[in-house]
């Protein structure tokens, strides 16, 4: 897994968006679009973040929009396995208490 990128897949009634690399202002708008587009495939979205080595506030904003979309439309939103650097930024923004965070999709489904 090189550079940065994302990949959308479907797992039952969930969309899973796997993101990797550094999420900064240079492509966070693309991530935001992918997050919102994912809801056209399924009502619930899990964003897998174990491969994200860096995220800034613009990347966090894309996740907040995804979370708010799910709440508004009656779907579910989850973050899967955020890396240590992602967790640090979530804690700094106090969003670790807001986002549902799970180790994997099975845990998100079971919650």
């Amino acid at each position: 897994m090189m550079g940065k990128g994302s990949e959308l897949s479907r797992d039952g009634d969930w969309s899973v968006l796997r993101v990797w690399g550094e999420v900064d202002l240079s492509w966070s708008q693309d991530v935001r679009k992918q997050v919102l587009d994912a809801y056209t495939k399924a009502k619930s979205l899990a964003v897998q973040l174990d491969g994200v080595s860096y995220i800034d506030s613009s990347g966090i904003a894309a996740l907040v929009e995804g979370f708010q979309h799910a709440r508004a439309k009656g779907g579910r939103f989850a973050l899967l396995a955020p890396s240590e650097s992602v967790r640090a930024v979530l804690e700094l923004a106090r969003l670790d208490r807001v986002f549902p965070i799970f180790s994997d999709l099975a845990a998100a489904r079971a919650a």
Binding site: E22, D24, L25, S26, Y54, D56, S57, S58, I60, A61, A62, V64, E65, F67, Q68, S85, A88, V89, L92, A93, R94, L95, V98
Partner: protein, 142 residues
């Protein structure tokens, strides 16, 4: 005579510059006795400051320049960002209430949480703004 800066760089005010800036700041901070978590926090704060200049001062117009200078002054680090964009009202730069869950506006909070002191001011005689941020080198509880 003051010590030479830890880093002095000038770069294009565009989002594509940010990875290079982060790498340069990271390298400069590795010469100090900071732990990895502190280094990561400072790199993030500098990235957020640069992103704010790109988005809000230059308004994503891509042809501006930003100068970054990092100096060690005794037990403090001083970060100075200089742009040539139209003046930005310092009163607009305030941390927001983090209990509100909404996208955007977190950059100033990150700077505020990471730095001991920061100040942004428009230049009086020239076009542009200067953001100065100070951070103690010793272990902090913030």
């Amino acid at each position: 005579m003051s010590a030479p800066p830890l880093l002095r760089m000038e770069f294009a005010a565009r989002a594509e510059s940010l990875a290079e800036v982060r790498a340069a700041v990271h390298r400069a901070l590795l010469t100090l006795t900071l732990d990895a978590r502190d280094v990561a926090r400072i790199v993030l704060a500098i990235d957020e400051a640069c992103a704010n200049v790109i988005r809000h001062a230059y308004r994503d117009c891509n042809d501006g320049r930003i100068e970054l200078r990092i100096e060690r002054r005794r037990e403090r680090l001083r970060f100075r960002l200089r742009d040539h964009a139209p003046a930005v009202d310092p009163g607009c730069l305030k941390p927001r209430d983090l209990s509100e869950c909404r996208p955007g506006g977190l950059g100033i909070n990150i700077i505020d949480e990471t730095m001991d002191h920061w100040r942004q001011r428009p230049l009086k005689r020239h076009c542009g703004n200067v953001l100065t941020m100070l951070r103690r080198l010793q272990v902090r509880n913030k």
